[in-house]
């Protein structure tokens, strides 16, 4: 595992140099793995419009040492690349697969416009929404109305994220003194503090089959299950109040990992919280709380550091920021750090973790991975 950046603006390195740095660290972490000789395939997770380059996958091979080797790109979150690597290894054809994802939002001048380009060109784009967060605000309203979630519950999510983030060395946005209710409204009910900022980062992960993993690491963290799902991409038809995609992804991953009761069997979780209300939604979708109960368990401290089932010990996207498609790998790398004991976190047991990613509005795709040591 290797990462680089997690700064609002990495000025001295291009995206390729950032990936190179992250890859170098990952290979060092994997016992000095030689990418030219010991890696069977490389997967890159990125999107053209974020890169500002058409056919951006052209740039995937060199920074990870993959030139003239099997390299391909997945237009999705980094955790989805982990899912592909998992399948590749399980097929028996590949032993070592490297996954890369990066984001350099500070290079993008027109972020809102780019995000809006992801909406349906016929049914949504003519609305010319001035603020793409309005789509998330509608989801927040639907969720809050259906499950009786109030503004103070969102206050609690934000407060928890910033408090936890203070202990995370790469959480540049963690500011525990900041009160959510004092920040301006962006799109009712979302306030500025509800919305994660973007951040520049690159993360590289090395995955290996059971046959060869011990060669690179004495104490590997096992991927016990990974699954993903997409709900309808037609915005007007999707479920606004509950992220079904996260539920289905979680159920698939739990089935592979033979987890029957996630609330009891999972020790801690890293979930997408790029909007504060999403953390509550995703906790419920991942069956870490009954529907509508996440807010109450949060109030009881269950999801806080040191609680019954800590969620986002890192502070999540609210504290670290969103490095575009590298966000899922950011969640994964933090969880791995905690499980290996490299990150001192307030968690009773760190043997089973669940990691989740979502790609932000207007997408309806989630990926969930179950990790074990």
């Amino acid at each position: 595992m290797g990462w680089f950046g997690f700064q609002p603006e990495v000025v001295d390195y291009s995206f390729r140099e950032m990936v190179f740095k992250a890859a170098q660290r990952a290979y060092e972490d994997a016992g000095g793995l030689d990418p030219r000789g010991e890696v069977d395939a490389f997967v890159s997770c990125q999107e053209d419009f974020w890169e500002g380059i058409s056919i951006a996958d052209e740039f995937a091979p060199d920074p990870v040492g993959g030139a003239m080797k099997p390299v391909y790109t997945v237009a999705g979150d980094g955790l989805q690349c982990v899912g592909q690597a998992y399948m590749m290894i399980r097929s028996g054809l590949f032993d070592v697969v490297v996954v890369e994802s990066h984001g350099k939002p500070s290079d993008v001048e027109t972020l809102d416009e780019v995000m809006f380009m992801a909406t349906d060109p016929i049914s949504i784009r003519p609305l010319a929404l001035e603020n793409v967060h309005a789509l998330a605000a509608l989801e927040a309203r639907a969720y809050m109305a259906e499950f009786g979630v109030a503004e103070e519950h969102l206050d609690a999510v934000v407060e928890k994220a910033h408090k936890a983030g203070v202990k995370n060395q790469r959480a540049v946005f963690a500011s525990p003194g900041r009160s959510r209710s004092a920040t301006p409204v962006v799109a009712e009910p979302l306030r500025e503090a509800d919305i994660a900022k973007f951040v520049d980062a690159a993360v590289v992960v090395v995955l290996a089959s059971e046959r060869v993993a011990k060669k690179y690491n004495d104490a590997p963290v096992w991927v016990d299950g990974v699954w993903w799902s997409t709900e309808t991409s037609t915005l007007e038809l999707h479920n606004w109040a509950f992220p079904l995609h996260a539920r289905e992804a979680a159920d698939g991953a739990y089935a592979q990992a033979k987890i029957a009761d996630p609330f009891k069997e999972v020790d801690f979780a890293e979930v997408d919280n790029r909007y504060a209300f999403k953390e509550l939604q995703h906790i419920e979708a991942l069956r870490l709380a009954p529907r509508g109960m996440a807010k109450d368990l949060l109030a009881d401290g269950a999801f806080c550091p040191g609680g019954r089932l800590p969620v986002n010990l890192s502070g999540g996207a609210l504290a670290e920021g969103v490095p575009f498609e590298a966000h899922g790998l950011a969640r994964l790398s933090y969880a791995v750090g905690v499980m290996r004991g490299e990150i001192k976190a307030e968690v009773d047991r760190a043997e089973t973790a669940v990691v989740h990613s979502w790609r932000g509005v207007p997408t309806t795709t989630s990926v969930v991975a179950v990790l074990r040591i």
Partner: protein, 395 residues
């Protein structure tokens, strides 16, 4: 290295294929095109969307369809809703990569029936021409400032090949003539021309010398789909599954300026990976029919050599001798290829896989090659003259 363990738990077969018309300015939306192809593939396999466990989508630059995160958008038409759906991407080589990725979905044992869909809608992209999208594929620092055009670099490659192999434009034009004539047997074809002659190609407008207009495939819209299944499922679905015997792909460095343009080494390595898996040591003898990627006529020759179907610089000779004709000893692009059927980037690559599937099943109709087909190959190419994807299928 890859291919070490060939004892797969699950063999994987193709059990159905579908294809839309390839045309410029189709009225259907990208989602609708994807669904037309997907449904045809499902119908051919006798399945419905409910039977599909996983979906793999392929589409080249988002800028063609004009949608950011195109995979999320296409999930709708490609049948990916409430299912695990992923969009894979290796530029122009994506079409053949879609069934490669679908292969490990099934070979991993995690999905039993996989729908692989490729779609591209180029004709409404960018103004004044879809080529404009290619202004943004370059290194943003060292290349974009000189405003290169994609045709320029392929003209350089063609020229280099002509120089190294001492090939005349007349020899290369034979490929365009063959493929545009072959396309007349294809119900989806955009550019069938039964009367085309070498002189027509040579006399068409020069775009960037030595590339003339009829040396190049057209701008197209279209979609293609195949259904893959694990062995147990495949045998349940059909009596004539077509097995995926080998997969391979390679990406060379982004720095195309440092490449020997006369020979696609990355295609050779991709083919080597696929051949090793398929147990092929003499492709010229063991491959009965091939669909190498032919966005330009010289590329068919280039790729035949990279794939080991011809020795270096031998492909133009085989073409001149008629070996690559539909009734020849080694039929190449009996579908009509991209030059004849059309080139909706990712869909064009998957069209080639569908063609090999139909050839092996003996269902290619007017395009069926004369010799018996046991093993076939499809290949695509993309990025900055950098990516090669290869799939070997057989009975």
């Amino acid at each position: 290295m890859t291919g070490r363990n060939l004892n797969f738990k699950h063999r994987v077969a193709v059990v159905g294929a579908g294809l839309t018309l390839f045309r410029r300015r189709m009225l259907e939306t990208p989602q609708e095109l994807a669904w037309l192809a997907a449904r045809q593939a499902l119908d051919e396999a006798g399945l419905t969307l409910k039977d599909i466990d996983c979906v793999v989508i392929g589409s080249a630059p988002d800028a063609f369809d004009g949608v950011h995160m195109k995979g999320e958008y296409l999930a709708e038409g490609a049948g990916g809703i409430r299912k695990p759906v992923v969009r894979v991407y290796v530029g122009g080589a994506t079409g053949v990569f879609v069934p490669i990725a679908a292969w490990w979905h099934a070979a991993s044992g995690l999905c039993k029936r996989v729908l692989a869909v490729a779609e591209e809608k180029m004709s409404h992209a960018a103004k004044p021409h879809p080529q404009y999208v290619f202004r943004y594929i370059w290194d943003p620092v060292v290349e974009r400032p000189i405003s290169p055009n994609l045709l320029w670099i392929f003209a350089m490659e063609m020229h280099r090949y002509m120089y190294k192999c001492n090939v005349k434009k007349e020899d290369i034009a034979l490929v365009a003539v063959k493929n545009k004539r072959n396309a007349c047997g294809h119900p989806s074809a955009q550019l069938c021309n039964p009367h085309i002659k070498v002189e027509d190609v040579l006399n068409s407008e020069v775009l960037v010398w030595p590339v003339n207009r009829l040396d190049v495939s057209p701008v197209s819209d279209g979609a293609a789909a195949v259904v893959l299944a694990s062995e147990e499922e495949a045998r349940r679905i059909t009596d004539t599954p077509v097995w995926i015997k080998g997969i391979g792909w390679t990406l060379d460095t982004t720095h195309w300026t440092n490449r020997e343009l006369a020979y696609p080494e990355y295609v050779r390595r991709a083919a080597e990976m696929a051949y090793r898996m398929a147990g092929i040591d003499n492709p010229r003898k063991q491959i009965d029919v091939a669909e190498p990627y032919d966005p330009f006529d010289y590329k068919e020759l280039h790729h035949m050599e990279g794939l080991g179907l011809a020795k270096r610089c031998e492909a133009p000779i085989l073409t001149r001798e008629g070996v690559t004709q539909r009734d020849g000893d080694l039929p190449i692009n009996p579908s009509g290829g991209l030059l004849g059927v059309g080139n909706p980037i990712a869909a064009a690559g998957l069209m080639k896989v569908a063609e090999i599937f139909w050839q092996i099943r003996g269902e290619a109709g007017a395009r069926q090659v004369k010799k018996p087909v046991y093993t076939g190959l499809a290949q695509a190419w993309g990025d900055l003259m950098q990516a090669g994807t290869v799939i070997v299928m057989g009975i």
